[in-house]
């Protein structure tokens, strides 16, 4: 175990990889700071640019964006009450009141340190959990993978805000869109409408950038964002001893919570942060003070969301099952670089696995060092009027879409999907289930076909193993409970994650 991680550090500390780690977390934080332009769009944007890099470097870079965005989002939450992305919404609730009391520094500081601790402990957990889990997963066959992915999609649908029917519709649409193109087995075109461009299917990156990036910009264009900053100069970034005393348990609780929730498909950093807040409020001696600036309400959720972001890598790397749309894009990144994440990853590509894990430690540390001094920079970015910001964001999206295949068609696709995404969001349909279904659909289809070949067409193969059967029953159970009337409560949108 320890030679492995030492080997990993050897890889992570190569100058090029350090640089990519740095670039990743820097861009990630920047993404987290920008309202609306979140990790999915950012990873999709940089993905084409990583084609020339080695797979290790590419994954280090792209993962850095993911957990970096968790840090960046909290900065704007605390200072201007605007969450950079969904996982930072909770930080607004206590962090902004703290800023109004002149304690922005402590809020930001504890948020950064809490994220560091949460992330680092989660990586330690990853190190211990992933290899045995991989070994277990080696016993999985296509039926198990199919059922797990089905469960994953069901959970994402379950956790979406709004009526479950809408989320299911989005997932179904995603499945349909995912099947556009040439059928892998028979070679027959499906849903291509005679259009040559669609023979390869709908490309992922324009889809993600359109649904998550362009649509957000269009949505933001409807209103002018009034930005009120509370403290232009933030001092005292180090929390006091009293702050630490109050925060240490929330941080540890948040870390544990986040670690486990990150493992569950569909749960992830957003849910982790909400639940952590709920927990802190419950266990606090002064629950009535929540909302006025309690540091526990920042420390817990921030640690939770970072821990969840790290542990989301576990199902990705060991099972090849992504836990959320963002992680699904990372999955696509792996595949595009010729790596198949799954049980064999650790044994076949130890350099990649341990290198990425080691660089996560490095990345979390870099984020601490980056975020505290550079706060002034991030604040200045938030304060740039949207009029100047949005052309730049749109431009990056345009270039990003173009750079995949050097085809203008991709740009058109992205814009069309951007309009679609915009309309979807206006009518409160979430893109997250769609994207997850879009990515998982083809993979699930392949697994299902393999299973049926194995069983010679007998569907009962999915119920023959305990894991597969269990996953399917759980998925069915979740779907059934959505029909119950008690299920009508509104949950926070996970769209941006």
């Amino acid at each position: 175990m320890f030679d492995n991680i030492a080997y990993g550090f050897g890889i992570a500390f190569q100058p090029a990889n350090i640089l990519f780690c740095f670039l990743g977390v820097l861009f990630g934080t920047f993404t987290g700071v920008l309202p609306g332009f979140g990790p999915p769009a950012a990873i999709a944007l940089l993905l084409p640019l990583t084609f020339g890099l080695s797979p290790v470097a590419a994954i280090i870079l792209l993962s850095g964006i993911y957990y970096g965005a968790m840090y960046g989002g909290s900065t704007t939450s605390v200072l201007v009450n605007i969450p950079g992305e969904a996982a930072s919404i909770i930080t607004c609730m206590e962090g902004y009141p703290m800023a109004r009391k002149g304690r922005a520094g402590a809020a930001l500081g504890i948020s950064a340190f809490g994220s560091l601790i949460g992330g680092t402990l989660a990586i330690v957990g990853l190190m211990f959990v992933a290899p045995p889990l991989s070994d277990l997963a080696l016993k999985f066959g296509p039926p198990e993978f199919f059922s797990l992915m089905l469960l994953s999609m069901t959970i994402v649908t379950y956790v979406s805000s709004g009526p479950p029917v809408k989320a299911l519709m989005m997932a179904a649409l995603g499945l349909s869109l995912g099947s556009v193109g040439l059928d892998k087995v028979s070679g027959l075109p499906r849903f291509t409408l005679g259009v040559g461009y669609l023979l390869d299917g709908i490309p992922l990156i324009p889809l993600v950038m359109g649904l998550f990036g362009i649509s957000e910009v269009l949505l933001n264009l409807e209103r002018t964002l009034q930005v009120e900053i509370y403290e232009k100069k933030v001092r005292n970034l180090l929390p006091t001893l009293k702050d630490w005393a109050a925060s240490i348990w929330p941080i540890l609780r948040g870390t544990g919570l986040g670690f486990f929730l990150g493992l569950l498909p569909g749960a992830g950093p957003v849910l982790a942060s909400f639940i952590s807040y709920g927990v802190e409020k419950r266990v606090s001696r002064h629950p009535e003070k929540f909302g006025t600036g309690m540091i526990e309400g920042v420390a817990g959720p921030e640690s939770a969301n970072n821990a969840a972001a790290q542990s989301a890598f576990i199902p990705l790397l060991t099972l090849g099952v992504p836990a959320s749309p963002t992680v699904a894009i990372l999955l696509a990144a792996f595949i595009m670089h010729g790596i198949q994440p799954g049980p064999l990853l650790i044994s076949q590509q130890p350099g990649l696995f341990w290198g990425v894990v080691a660089s996560m430690y490095l990345g979390n540390l870099m984020l601490l060092v980056l975020n505290l001094p550079l706060i002034g920079l991030w604040v200045r970015i938030v304060l740039v009027p949207y009029v100047y910001l949005f052309p730049v964001i749109l431009f990056f999206c345009l270039i990003g879409a173009f750079s995949i295949n050097f085809s203008a068609g991709d740009i058109y696709m992205m814009v069309i999907l951007g309009v679609a995404g915009y309309l979807m969001k206006k009518f409160e349909y979430e893109p997250a289930p769609l994207v997850l279904a879009f990515i998982l659909g083809p993979i699930m289809e392949k697994a299902m076909r393999q299973s049926l070949i194995m069983s010679q067409g007998d569907f009962s193969i999915f119920f023959q193993s305990p894991i597969s059967c269990g996953a399917l029953l759980l998925a069915a159970f979740l779907l059934l409970t959505t029909v119950l009337p008690s299920f009508k409560k509104r949950r926070p949108s996970l769209g941006g994650e």
């Binding site: 209103r223 949005f390 052309p391 431009f395 345009l398 173009f402 915009y422």
Partner: protein
């Protein structure tokens, strides 16, 4: 969704000022790939920034042209020189 809610939503969709911005942006977004093949990367990018800076929330011509210029040139340097992305060469040869 109740009928009143739905009508309210459609209402907010047709709000003049906001709608104009969005439609304008979409026109610009669709025009960009069209022009890219015709006149090349640098001029198209320049026009892109001009259009967005000028027509969405009008700024003075100085800001617009200056901003567009900076935008176009820096994108040229970043994307064409540094990242070596090959853009179609339009009639102006760039």
């Amino acid at each position: 969704m109740k009928t009143e809610d739905l009508i309210g939503k459609v209402d907010s969709l047709i709000l003049p000022k906001n709608c104009r911005n969005i439609i304008l942006t979409l026109v610009v977004l669709f025009a960009y790939p069209l022009l890219l093949g015709l006149i090349g990367f640098l001029p198209t990018t320049f026009l892109f920034f001009v259009a967005l800076l000028r027509f969405v929330e009008p700024k003075g011509w100085g800001v617009v042209l200056g901003g567009a210029g900076v935008g176009a040139i820096s994108s040229y340097l970043i994307f064409q020189y540094w990242l070596k992305i090959e853009f179609p060469i339009g009639i102006f040869g760039m």
